[in-house]
C-alpha cells in the first residue's frame, strides 16, 4: 500500500463544541481542516446538564435559525432551588429580563446537538474523521507538526494543531502545557438521568405554559449531602434531565456511590412526583473541570492551541462552559488562519489566541471567579446549613399560626444560630460576595 502523507492545514482534536467551532472558522477561511474525533459520531462521548447559549451559537452562525438547530426548549424560567432533607425553597425567575429575542439559553442534548454542530463545520468545508483516537504528537525540530492516531498508517500532519480533547486532557499534559493531572478538588463528577415523559406532563408538572417554555434549575443543599456540589434540573422537550455534580475530592471522602446520590435526589419528595411514570432514557456521567483560572494550562505553544474543557473553561457557578468552548474554538480557529497568513506557527503568533480571549467574557469571567471552586470546597455550609435554614425559616414563617410572631422570628433565627454562629454567617456571606465579584 502506498504511504502517502496525510496532510492538512490544521488538525483539530475532538469534535465537541470547541473543536467543531474551531474547524468551522478555519475551514470558512480557506484552511484545509481535519477534525479527528474518537467517538462513532461527534457528540457520542459528550454529556452535560444542560444548556447552550444563543449568543455564542449566533456569533458563529448568524443565520443560526435557518439551519434548524436541534434545540429542545428555551430556558424561560431559571434560578435556584434550595433543598433540605424533605423540603424545597424555590427561587426562580421567569419572564422579564429573560424574555429576550431569541431567548438566551436553550436546553439541548449533546449527542444530537454536537453532531449537528459538526455538520455545520462540515458545511463550511471541514473534514471530520470519526472513530479515530489521537494518541501522540509528531515532532520535528522540537515542534509539533502533526498527530499520531491509533489506526494503522495513522499519522496526520499539519503545521498547527488545536486540542479540544475534553476534560481528560492527556494530550495537553503530554505537551507539558500543564504539569499535573486534573485535581480532585478542582474537578467535579456530574451524574445524570434523562427521564422521558410526555411533553404535556412536563408542562403540567412544572407549570410551563407550552413546549416553548423550559426550566434550567440549579439545586443547592441536601442534594449534595454536604459535599461541595450542586444538583440540576433541565427540561428537554419530552424529557427531564436531572443530575448532581460534586467534586471528586468530596466524593472520595464521602464513600458515596454517585448513582445512589443521584437516586436520593430523584427520590426527594419535591422531585419524585415530577418524574413519576417516566422512563429512563439514558444515564451517564462526565467530569467537569471546575478549576477555572487557577487550574488552566498554558493555552498555546509552538504549533498548538488548547480550547474548551481541556483548558478548564468552565464557570462552575453559572454552569457556563459550552459558550466558553465555542468562543475559545472561534478564537483558536481565527488564530490558526492568521498563522497561515503569516506562515508562522510559533508560539509568538499563536499568542494572539490568548490575547483574543482576554478581550472576551471567557477569560474575564474565569478570572473573576478564580476563587470559587476553593471557596465552595472550604464552605460546606453553603451546601448544607444555609439551604436547610432557608427551608426551615420559610416553613416556620408560613406555618407559625397561633404563635406570637416575635417568638417565631426568634425561633427561626435560632435554627440558624444553633448551627452556625451569627458572626460566621456574616463572614461567609461577605466572603461569598468577594468570591463572585472576584476581589
Amino acid at each position: 500500500m502506498s504511504s502517502k502523507k496525510i496532510q492538512f492545514d490544521v488538525i483539530v482534536v475532538g469534535a465537541g463544541l470547541a473543536g467543531s467551532t474551531a474547524a468551522a472558522v478555519a475551514a470558512r477561511n480557506g484552511l484545509n481542516t481535519a477534525v479527528i474525533e474518537r467517538g462513532q459520531q461527534p457528540g457520542g462521548k459528550n454529556f452535560f446538564g444542560g444548556a447552550v447559549y444563543t449568543h455564542a451559537l449566533q456569533e458563529i452562525y448568524p443565520d443560526l435559525w435557518d439551519r434548524n438547530p436541534p434545540l429542545e426548549r428555551p430556558v424561560t424560567e431559571t434560578g435556584f432551588w434550595f433543598m433540605s432533607k424533605d423540603g424545597m425553597v424555590k427561587a426562580t425567575v421567569q419572564g422579564g429580563k429573560l424574555n429576550n429575542d431569541p431567548i438566551d439559553a436553550y436546553v439541548a442534548l449533546r449527542a444530537r446537538f454536537d453532531s449537528w454542530w459538526a455538520d455545520q463545520a462540515k458545511s463550511e468545508g471541514a473534514f471530520i474523521i470519526p472513530k479515530t483516537l489521537v494518541e501522540e504528537f509528531i515532532y520535528q525540530d522540537g515542534k509539533v507538526v502533526g498527530v499520531k492516531t491509533d489506526r494503522p498508517q495513522g499519522d496526520v500532519y499539519a503545521p498547527v494543531v488545536i486540542i479540544c480533547e475534553g476534560v481528560n486532557n492527556l494530550l495537553t499534559q503530554k505537551l507539558g502545557l500543564i504539569d499535573h493531572d486534573i485535581r480532585p478538588a478542582a474537578t467535579a463528577l456530574g451524574v445524570k438521568q434523562l427521564i422521558s415523559l410526555p411533553a404535556e406532563t412536563i408542562n403540567a408538572r412544572l407549570g410551563l405554559p407550552s413546549n416553548e417554555h423550559g426550566l434550567a434549575i440549579s439545586v443547592m443543599g441536601d442534594v449534595s449531602m454536604g459535599m461541595a456540589g450542586l444538583g440540576f434540573l433541565y427540561t428537554a422537550e419530552k424529557a427531564i434531565s436531572l443530575g448532581v455534580g460534586v467534586t471528586l475530592e468530596a466524593l472520595r471522602k464521602s464513600g458515596v456511590k454517585p448513582y445512589e446520590l443521584l437516586q436520593r435526589y430523584l427520590n426527594h419528595p419535591a422531585v419524585a412526583p415530577l418524574i413519576e411514570g417516566g422512563q429512563l432514557m439514558e444515564y451517564g456521567a462526565h467530569l467537569i473541570p471546575e478549576g477555572g483560572w487557577k487550574e488552566m494550562p498554558r493555552l498555546y505553544t509552538d504549533g498548538v492551541m488548547v480550547a474548551g474543557d481541556a483548558a478548564t473553561m468552565v464557570n462552575a457557578l453559572h454552569w457556563e462552559g459550552t459558550n466558553m468552548a465555542i468562543i475559545a474554538g472561534q478564537q483558536a480557529g481565527l488564530t490558526a488562519v492568521e498563522a497561515h497568513r503569516q506562515g508562522d506557527f510559533s508560539s509568538k503568533t499563536l499568542s494572539a489566541y490568548q490575547a483574543g480571549l482576554k478581550e472576551r467574557f471567557v477569560m474575564k469571567d474565569l478570572y473573576q471567579y478564580r476563587n470559587l471552586s476553593r471557596f465552595l470546597d472550604s464552605h460546606p455550609e453553603f451546601m448544607d446549613i444555609y439551604p436547610t435554614f432557608l427551608n426551615d425559616a420559610l416553613g416556620m414563617f408560613f406555618s407559625g399560626f397561633g404563635k406570637p410572631k416575635k417568638r417565631l422570628y426568634k425561633d427561626i433565627l435560632r435554627t440558624l444560630t444553633s448551627r452556625r454562629p451569627l458572626l460566621k454567617v456574616v463572614g461567609d456571606l461577605v466572603s461569598f460576595g468577594r468570591t463572585i465579584i472576584g476581589i
Binding site: I6, Q41, F127, T149, R151, Q153, D155, S196, E282
Partner: protein, 279 residues
C-alpha cells in the same frame, strides 16, 4: 482473482429501542442506525478472502439514501465498491420483493464482472426474518449455505469452496460449486480495525445509486408494496403478564423466604419432582 459480493442492510440498533408507553410506537429519537452486525461480519469475511486470493468486493444494499453511510463503512473495512439500490418505488417491500430487487441487481453486476461468492449476514436484527439471503440464492439458482461459521477453502481454479455451517445437532462442512451464496454467523470473521487511509477514503466514497429504472429496469409488479405478498395487518406491544408475589429475602427473613418459595414450587403443578418432592 476473487469477486465477492456482499448484501448488507442498514438497521436501527434494536438493542436500544424504546417504546412510547402512551402510543405504543417506537421512539426513533436517539436510536442510531448501524450496519446490521451479522452483515458487518460477512463483509469482514469477504475482506479476509480478498486478502488471501486477490480480487475485489462489491457491496450492495437496498434502502433509503441515508444507507450510504453503511456502504461507506464497508469500504472502510476493505470493500472496493458500493451500490445503493434506492427508489421510492421500492418502499413497502417485504422479503420476497427485496430478494427480487437484489437478485436482479446482482445479475447485472455478474454480467459485467462474474461473481464467485455471495455473502449475507444470517439475519437482520430489526426483522430477524433470515429470508432475503436464501431468497436471493434461489432466484439466482446458486447453492445456498446458511449459518456459515468458517470458510475453509475457496478454490477458484477448480471452482469450489469448503464452508463450515452450524446446525442444531452439529457443524457440517459443505463442499459447494461456485458461484454460491452463504449467510454468515458472527464467528465467520472478526471486524478489522481499518487503517487511517482506508477510513479517510471511505468517508470520501460516494457509492453508485441505482434506481428502479436504471441500470436495471425492474418489473413494477414485483417491487415495493405491489410485489410483496405479505402485509402488516396490525402492530402492538407485547402482552404484559400479571406480576406475581414479591418476597423480601434479606437477613433474618432469608431462611423463611427460601422455604416459602420452595413450597410454592412444590405446590405448583409438576414442580415437586424437580426439587425432590413426591411425584
Amino acid at each position: 482473482m476473487l469477486h465477492a459480493l456482499v448484501g448488507i442492510k442498514q438497521v436501527p440498533d434494536t438493542t436500544n429501542i424504546r417504546i412510547d408507553p402512551e402510543t405504543g410506537s417506537l421512539i426513533r429519537q436517539g436510536v442510531p442506525t448501524i450496519i446490521n452486525p451479522y452483515d458487518a461480519h460477512a463483509v469482514a469475511a469477504a475482506v479476509e478472502w480478498k486478502r488471501k486470493l486477490g480480487g475485489k468486493i462489491t457491496v450492495i444494499t437496498m434502502g433509503p439514501p441515508a444507507a450510504v453511510s453503511a456502504l461507506q463503512e464497508c469500504i472502510e473495512m476493505g470493500a472496493d465498491k458500493g451500490i445503493l439500490v434506492s427508489d421510492r418505488k421500492f418502499s413497502g417491500a417485504d422479503t420476497l420483493a427485496t430478494s427480487y430487487v437484489l437478485a436482479e441487481a446482482i445479475k447485472k453486476i455478474h454480467e459485467e464482472d462474474p461473481i464467485d461468492l455471495i455473502f449475507f449476514g444470517k439475519q437482520a436484527i430489526d426483522g430477524d426474518t433470515a429470508q432475503v439471503g436464501p431468497g436471493v440464492a434461489v432466484r439466482l439458482g446458486y447453492p445456498l449455505i446458511t449459518y456459515a461459521v468458517n470458510i475453509r477453502e475457496v478454490n477458484l481454479e477448480e471452482g469450489y469452496a469448503l464452508i463450515e455451517r452450524k446446525t442444531e445437532l452439529r457443524n457440517e462442512i459443505i463442499k459447494t460449486t461456485l458461484p454460491a451464496a452463504m449467510t454468515c454467523e458472527k464467528e465467520i470473521a472478526e471486524i478489522p480495525y481499518a487503517a487511517l487511509p482506508d477510513l479517510i477514503a471511505s468517508l470520501r466514497y460516494k457509492p453508485q445509486v441505482w434506481t428502479a429504472d436504471e441500470p436495471v429496469a425492474y418489473d413494477i409488479a414485483q417491487i415495493g408494496l405491489k410485489g410483496s405478498p405479505t402485509m402488516v395487518f396490525k402492530t402492538g406491544t407485547p402482552v404484559q403478564h400479571e406480576p406475581g408475589e414479591l418476597i423480601k429475602a434479606a437477613g433474618t427473613s432469608l431462611d423463611k423466604a427460601v422455604d416459602l418459595v420452595l413450597n410454592k414450587i412444590m405446590e405448583h403443578a409438576s414442580g415437586a419432582p424437580l426439587i425432590g418432592g413426591k411425584k
